[in-house]
């Protein structure tokens, strides 16, 4: 029962939830949270494949770097969010429409 399908299913649910969060939520921080969910969904896939299919540790290395990169991205992203907030005093995503044709 708890084979590859189970894990891929969880990764899949995380991924979709992440995407939905990114599209539907209006808070920029929430959108950043969505990104984390997506990344985790992908990472689960890696590890699951590593165990059930490829049996090498590349599938473990990848999530490690995903975690690192996600941290860096979150740091930069949040810094920018804060900067944005300092200027616009909002983190509502629909306020970020100064740039348009």
């Amino acid at each position: 029962m708890f084979g590859l399908a189970w894990y891929l299913g969880i990764g899949f649910v995380l991924f979709c939830t992440g995407i939905t969060v990114m599209i539907a939520r209006k808070s920029i921080v929430a959108i950043l949270i969505g990104i984390e969910l997506i990344l985790n969904g992908a990472a689960i896939n890696f590890v699951a494949y590593s165990k059930f299919v490829t049996q090498d540790l590349d599938g473990h290395i990848f999530p490690l770097f995903i975690i690192i990169v996600a941290a860096a991205e979150a740091a930069v992203g949040l810094a920018i969010v804060i900067r944005f907030y300092q200027i616009r005093e909002t983190i509502h995503i629909d306020e970020a429409t100064q740039l348009q044709s």
Partner: protein, 487 residues
């Protein structure tokens, strides 16, 4: 260990860059808050890049060499690509030193970030496994986010950074999801093994690989800003300071191109349903990219935004060179990249000085430039005509090469679309030329930024645009020799 050290010898350009980056960080620390006299910083940065460039130039034509356990491959293609990127970064450095769009006290950080992005780009252009690709793209992206938001006091710049982060985040996620499946299906992340494995796949797995690859492609497509993943780019380009925009339209784009070429060749180099489907998709995307870029550029008032859209269109052009999947196409892309570099730099240089002077880059601000600074206006016209693809400028030769690659592989429809886009693009470039050279200026007040040196630099950038349009044999040979290496 010895093996790693010997690998290092092929990795000198990157190392030089990293070293430069670190040195700059230290220097900045020593400078402290003294905002003046950063000449030394620039000199250091430029020397660093120049060394990197020299090393790269010396190693063009060397035997392909996989290093770091096949994580990277140093072949002529990647070397030439890196050279172009290094040159582009150098150009941006100079622009940064002149531009007031970047705060004086943040210029060192700008250099550091730029070199960081450059390193990511260099990594991408010789990436030989999926992990390196991922890390390269992320390095490129994350540091780019910072660059986009560089103008801290400006809401637009922050917004640009924000959009970049969010868009970059989602695409990175989607790409990773794709990579995870590719890894699952093929069982490896090494490019050197992939072609063989793909050949061995049964038809069902083959069909499966394509969706996974499409997800993977989202990450690259967003870097080169191809339709439909382009939507961030006009906003980001517009919001970012000019040197950053300049940088974005050159280095990340070319890096994305490089990795796209390599990935495409790795995955789709042998005939079959996979290749047909992918090439078909790429054709549509390339055509769409050109159309959307050009058509949207038509009505833009802001020159920077116009150039942003036009750079989308140029990406479409370069994609044409990829989908022919042969040496002619790669050669054409390298040529395109090299010429595109000079034209874009020139166009952005001029735009930058205009923005510095007037605060906006509205079309009208260019009015009567010819009477104020004839040489600059002429150079700018040359760049614009070249971007449109008019002989005898290098842009024409670049398009000609792409076209011949397309026609050689009998992609006449795409060739037709490409040339038609060339006509459309001429329309908006021509409008700007008209504004500069035909319309009368309201005042003959000169633009202070355009001193003798800067004019000389601008004209100097114009020279290769013309020269490469006439004597392009040498560059052609270089590009032709820059074979991509895939096991």
């Amino acid at each position: 260990m010895l093996k790693l050290l010997s690998n290092m010898s092929f990795y000198v350009p990157e190392l030089v860059c990293i070293l430069t980056m670190c040195t700059l960080l230290f220097m900045e620390a020593f400078y402290g808050d003294k905002s003046k006299g950063r000449t030394f910083v620039y000199i250091t940065a430029m020397i660093g890049l120049a060394i990197a460039f020299a090393v790269l130039a010396c190693s063009v034509g060397n035997k392909p060499q996989p290093i770091f356990y096949n994580a990277l491959i140093i072949d002529s293609f990647s070397t030439v690509m890196k050279m172009i990127m290094v040159l582009g970064t150098l150009g941006v450095f100079y622009l940064c030193s002149q531009s007031t769009d970047i705060y004086e006290d943040l210029k060192t950080e700008f250099l550091v970030m730029t070199i960081g992005v450059l390193i990511g780009g260099m990594l991408l252009s010789s990436a030989n496994n999926l992990l390196t690709v991922y890390l390269g793209i992320e390095t490129l992206s994350i540091l780019s986010y910072v660059l986009a938001a560089f103008k801290k006091r400006d809401g637009r710049s922050s917004e640009a950074g924000l959009k970049y982060v969010l868009y970059g985040g989602i695409t990175a996620g989607v790409m990773l999801y794709g990579i995870s499946h590719i890894y699952g299906i093929l069982g490896t992340i090494q490019f050197s093994e992939i072609p063989g494995l793909i050949k061995a796949l049964d038809s069902q797995q083959t069909l499966l690989l394509l969706p996974a690859f499409v997800l993977f492609f989202v990450g690259i497509g967003y870097k080169i800003a191809c339709v439909p993943f382009h939507m961030w780019s006009p906003d980001v380009y517009e919001g970012s300071p000019v040197p950053v925009t300049t940088f974005f339209s050159i280095v990340p784009k070319l890096a994305g191109m490089a990795v796209l070429i390599r990935v495409t060749l790795v995955f789709f180099n042998h005939d079959g349903v996979l290749q047909t489907a992918w090439v078909g998709l790429m054709q549509v995307l390339a055509a769409l990219t050109m159309f959307v870029g050009n058509i949207t550029a038509i009505n833009q008032k802001s020159v920077k935004r116009m150039l942003a859209f036009s750079s989308i269109a140029h990406a479409g052009f370069m994609m044409c060179g990829i989908l022919v999947l042969n040496a002619t196409g790669i050669r054409a892309i390298l040529f395109y990249g090299a010429t595109y570099l000079f034209m874009t730099l020139l166009a952005f240089y001029v735009t930058s000085f205009i923005i510095d002077k007037y605060g906006t880059d509205d079309h009208e601000r260019f009015t009567g430039l010819i009477s104020k600074h004839p040489l600059v206006a002429i150079s700018m016209s040359v760049a614009l005509f070249s971007l449109a693809g008019l002989p005898p400028f290098s842009g024409f030769i670049a398009k000609f090469n792409i076209l011949s690659a397309l026609i050689e592989s009998e992609k006449y429809s795409l060739a037709l679309i490409a040339v038609l886009n060339s006509v459309i693009s001429l329309y908006y470039y021509l409008r700007l030329v008209k504004t500069m050279c035909v319309n009368e200026a309201d005042s003959s007040e000169p633009i202070e930024g355009l001193g003798f040196v800067n004019q000389a630099v601008i004209v100097g950038l114009g020279i290769p645009v013309i020269l490469l349009g006439v004597f392009w044999e040498k560059l052609m040979l270089v590009a032709d020799g820059a074979k991509i290496f895939i096991q």
